[in-house]
Amino acid sequence: MENKSEYNNKNEQNKKLLEVNDLRVDFKTHNGVVKAIRGASFELYQGETLAIVGESGSGKSVTTKVLMGILAKNGTITSGEVLYKGTDLCQITNKQFIQFRGKEIAMIFQDPMTSLNPTMTVGKQIREAVMEHTKLNRKAAKQRAIELIELVGIVNPAERYKQYPHQLSGGMRQRIVIAIALACEPKILIADEPTTALDVTIQAQILELIKSLQKQIGLSIIFITHDLGVVANMADRVAVMYAGKIVEYGTVEEIFNAPAHPYTWGLLSSVPDMANKDIDLYSIPGSPPNMLYPPVGDAFALRSEYALNIDFEEEPPMFKISETHYAATWLLDPRAPKVELPLFLRQRLQKEGAVHGN
């Protein structure tokens, strides 16, 4: 695969921007301690887009909140580290975090309809972010805010500056949220399902915008989503998250063409496909485990038809498939029986002419 090797070369030149090692987060609730993240590790390279995919409750959003330092009060980081520019973001105080939050790492949220302050003009909300981290005065900051509104593709920026959120459409509001995130030229942009709440046509526009901004500014993006279509379109690398752990990660080609973890198989099989209309749409049986009582062994074993006995006893380690591709499943152990990809997936991959099989 030429694409892949090209990517690898690029990868070597690129430097690691962010490194998350064995992150564990607990939430204290009325019912007990919820283990939301149970040892997640990943890294983000300069200029790339890393997609974190997984179903609701897998810990995607909690991960981003740790990166932003805005974890809810009942959540605690029990172990692990988040290294950014030599600083462990898990160890610093909230006051120290302010110099990173918004300035170095910015975030856009899921629902643009509720993420803007309804009583403040959108211009002021952008200007506020600009003034918070730069030494610009009011007038210069306003000028910068208008530039930002223009940058995110809104016409008549000076007019829009004076408007309130309710005077803008959902797509435009999300553009404003992006403008706020870009206000201080952050190095990392975290996008937490930024298109989930938007119309399909608007979704495409917003994704295009994020892509072009990445090229213009050289952002590194962590893209949280459960939409695999968006992943294929946006990401360089993909991390698949399940029950608070990253179960597989690799380049987008590796994940889509040669998935190794049964959960990834399930996810890919449940994407509707026009070319395979004759096959029933697959859905992963069961539901994610209750993280109050995390299962022993492989958390996905209960829902997996490929589960081995050991899956119920011991957690699988990360097996290396290639330089960039890792997966945590006992199926990759040399002693494990050979299993075929699910039929649905196999057929699709064959139709697409992709190479598969490990």
């Binding site: 509720t114 972010a129 309710h166």
Partner: protein
């Protein structure tokens, strides 16, 4: 906008007329007459009734009264409290005092209430939250005369006796208007503090949990800026709704507070007027009450627009 205000004013005017008509009719059913002095003979009483036109048929009196009020702002004279004194003069003397106490209590109550609410909301489910919530429950459930008497007794009487120096006068003193207004203002503001704190806390907790506060946090703002710039204004919207009627009842004078501290305000006047059947004063005071209420409602509607741009009457912008 002008059309809107015009319509509001028209409705207000009709409301006023209705209130006055109703009051006029209801007062006709009141037992007794303004001339209750036992020394008066039947014929003298008859003479007084004749003099003030109280023997005329109801429609005639209604017409005279309304015409006088509407054209000259003349509410007639007092029959009993200050004989033959113009009702407007009596009210003019007393109204500023009531308004002053009301505004002082409102200002104190809102500021303290908002601060308490902010403390409670920021420290949700901690001892601070419990304390402020407990305080507002007390403030709402304990009647204001208990506070009034307590303050007057302990700070006005006991403290003076113990220290030999009068820090807080026990009753209102027209020659020390500021000093002697402290205790009544505090007593009057207790209810405001409690109400504002309670409403504001609930709202703040909700607003703090909202997405735009999260975004403000993600911008890197510190909590002080998040609260003052983003949370407060949004949480104020429902509080303003409660503050409106509260302000009216404060400005029109609290009967109890005025009695306890001996303040010659209009709350006190109204009760005296009712007990001696001084009809004109009753109607005039009610008239002022209604006017206040209507103005307050209008003011609050305008305030809504200032606080919340979504409510603002469209000015041709996109929506």
């Amino acid at each position: 906008m002008i059309k809107y205000i015009g319509r509001r004013l028209l409705i207000a005017f009709v409301t006023l007329l209705t209130i006055m008509t109703l009051l006029f009719i209801l007062l006709e059913f009141m037992p007794g007459s303004p001339f209750n002095d036992e020394k008066l003979s039947e014929s003298q009483r008859e003479l007084l009734n004749e003099k003030y036109g109280l023997n005329d048929p109801i429609p005639v009196r209604y017409k005279t009264f309304m015409v006088n009020v509407l054209t000259k702002g003349d509410f007639g004279v007092s029959y009993a409290i200050e004989k033959n004194a113009e009702v407007s003069n009596i009210i003019d003397k007393r109204l500023p005092l009531s308004i002053r106490f009301g505004l002082q209590a409102l200002a104190l109550g809102s500021v303290v209430g908002i601060i308490l609410a902010a403390i409670a909301a920021l420290n949700k489910n901690t001892i601070w939250d419990t304390m402020t919530t407990g305080f507002s429950v007390l403030g709402i459930s304990i009647p204001s005369y208990v506070f009034a008497l307590g303050l007057s007794y302990f700070l006005g009487y006991k403290l003076t006796k113990a220290t030999g120096h009068q820090y807080f006068p026990m009753t209102f003193d027209i020659y020390q208007p500021w000093k002697s207004s402290i205790l009544p203002t505090i007593a009057l503001s207790m209810f405001v503090i409690a109400t504002v704190a309670r409403f504001m806390r609930t709202e703040l907790v909700e607003v703090i949990g909202s997405d735009f506060v999260l975004l403000a946090e993600a911008k890197g703002l510190n909590s002080r800026k998040i609260i003052t710039r983003h949370a407060m204004r949004n949480a104020l919207i429902p509080v303003v709704t409660v503050l409106g009627p509260l302000t009216v009842s404060l400005m029109t004078g609290s009967l109890v507070i005025e009695r306890v501290f001996g303040i010659p305000g209009i709350g006190d006047l109204l009760v005296t007027a009712i007990s001696v059947n001084d009809f004109n004063i009753i109607i005039a005071v009610s008239f002022y009450y209604s006017i206040f209420y209507i103005i307050m409602q209008l003011f609050i509607d305008i305030l809504y627009g200032i606080i919340d741009p979504r409510i603002r009457v469209a000015k041709g912008g996109q929506s």
